[in-house]
Symmetry: C2
Subunit: 341 residues, 2 copies
DNA sequence: TTGTATGCGTTATCAC
DNA sequence: GTGATAACGCATACAA
């Protein structure tokens, strides 16, 4: 038996129907407030009849928390980003918060607008998954009491927490893994995106090779993704002397490379070329690829993020963030060590 | 030169620094309000110094719109869902709204909570991408003036707009496409998820076959996804007489099927088995698969959704939603018609 | 154009 | 345990 005609119903209306005061209604819906069972029941009933729902906007106004967390991201359809988004929204909800996802193109202006959005909506915190945020705007967020967390952008700005995977170390590991497999002519497939993470990976790989006196080409044949990987293969194999071991700084890159190597050049994986990736997206495990790669522990990363968002204060952040170590996932795209044992 | 110490700065503070009234500040940040250029400038300067950002929570309180759109979704890492999410958040932002994504497990209780969240945050509208929402809660949303849009859930509830692709028609088209390719033993690979869309597709395919006096098995070997498709192949080919033509009600299903058919049973695609999918996710175009499929026009769908969200009133919705027709994308997973010409 | 006053829906503080 | 009342930050009708 709905009474209202339009718009949302307020606590005031509920109070009238239940024959109690606004405060009683408020208390009924506030955790740990003291209401008698009798009034509580009356209120709940009236609320159900009217279809009342607490207005979190108003609540966030008096209270100083909105329970909104801004998530700034780009290229959502990318398996890695989608997985991150999935895990974040899930875990955020588990602690009673809600994610406001802001989709940016990744350029400075776009990210700046995203940051302003989170400010406008008084988000309790901001998680930056991609793009290079303007330092002064970040500072503004921090100054306003927002918890801001930067993921995999190793530009160490003061204030926000920086959560980064061990990119360089893992890239070195990839190098040694390929070398132990007997690969002689190495190459790294990277992208023109040039994000801090990706750069860290490709340059660390090259550096590790340089220590052994090896020079490896870094191919950047387009923005990150499948197509760029495929194009890299075309560039590398269009003349003889192509690589017999490649490191894709991203699984997507590695997968594109693998497909082009196989279908455009008839190469066998891993007999003719060993390939190792980074991320362990779902597709890496598909039978057509069976890509050996390094898994980013997404679930643990997000747990850490949520912890940062809620428990710790900005001052203690430096200490609470442990190193995050991708672990190698062995599948079939890398040659077994020839002289094993 | 920051003055504030903690928390967000309000219009009040800006007004004091600029030497004007609160209203002047408000007007400066309200589109189409009348402020003199002089005060406007003073306000803008003070705001910049203080790092002021309009509080949309408070704004949404007096105004009756929050500019928040709830997006209810599950299985975000799924390429199709991720693509949808990407397009929605992008287009929503383009019209000054922001998406609040609520990640559900898809079960009734979870979706109900999601719906309540959108009510709590006074979302202007709700887009339901997955899950089966409780009819009475939907009614409550509509009653409260929210625009709610159901995507691909053909349970026609009164009130919300229903946006659905032509599932049945397209499934029939898939059937004829396979038949024209010369396939004799057909099968459809579906999932245990049993969403309205998927059911519509598999049963329409079977119905089309029945009209020709053909009986086709519908395999549901797990929840939607790659693994379920692969398992379906194992079930179908573990004994002789496996299909030479299959319809995957989802690309993911089709891809999993293709991989298992090839790698576990040595089948060639399309020589031994023709496969057609549904969705046209990015991976369908990867060289290892080259899946012939039907593309869901995601961008147009979202345009329509946004239009529904903003322009039309609920009363006119029935008329504004045109049929959405997936278009066939020909790649290499279906045998060319044997007796062409 | 500008400032003053009021209302938006809550929660918190205070008396009772 | 309950009800009045004052914030919270903003937009706006109104008066100047």
């Amino acid at each position: 038996m709905d009474i209202k005609t339009k718009g949302f119903v307020s606590a005031e209306t509920v109070a009238r129907l239940a024959g109690v005061s606004r405060s009683a209604v408020s208390r009924t819906f506030t955790d740990g407030a003291s209401v008698s069972e009798a009034t509580r029941k009356k209120v709940l009933e009236a609320a159900a009849v009217l279809g009342y729902h607490v207005n979190h906007l108003a609540r966030g106004l008096s209270h100083d928390r909105s329970n909104i967390i801004g998530i700034i991201v780009s290229e959502i359809p990318t398996p890695y980003q989608a997985r991150m988004l999935d895990e974040m929204t899930r875990q955020l909800q588990a602690i009673g918060k809600v994610g406001m996802v802001i989709n940016t193109t990744g350029d400075a202006e776009s990210v700046a607008n995203a940051l302003r959005q989170t400010l406008n909506f008084r988000a309790d915190g901001v998680i930056v998954l991609s793009g290079t945020p303007d330092a002064s705007l970040i500072a503004s967020c921090v100054a306003n009491g927002q918890r801001v967390i930067l993921i995999n952008r190793s530009d160490h700005i003061e204030g926000p927490a920086n959560l980064a995977v061990e990119n360089a170390e893992t890239a070195r590991e990839a190098y040694h893994l390929l070398r132990r497999a007997g690969c002689q002519r190495l190459a790294v497939v990277s992208s023109t995106a040039g994000t801090p993470s990706l750069s860290a990976r490709d340059s660390a790989f090259a550096a590790a090779a340089a220590e052994d006196g090896l020079s490896v080409p870094i191919i950047r044949a387009g923005a990150t993704g499948y197509a760029a990987g495929a194009e890299a293969a075309r560039q590398l194999y269009s003349r003889s002397g192509g690589p017999d071991g490649v490191f894709g700084v991203t699984d997507l890159l590695a997968l594109g490379f693998m497909d082009a190597a196989r279908h455009s050049f008839g190469l066998r994986v891993p007999q003719d070329v060993s390939i190792v990736g980074f991320d362990d997206i779902e597709q890496a495990g598909w039978e057509s690829y069976a890509l050996t790669t390094f898994r980013q522990p997404v679930e643990e990363m997000v747990q850490l993020i949520v912890q940062l968002l809620t428990q710790a204060g900005p001052d203690e952040w430096a200490h609470v963030v442990p190193p995050i170590k991708p672990v190698p996932i062995w599948r079939k795209s890398v040659l077994p060590r020839p002289n094993a044992g």
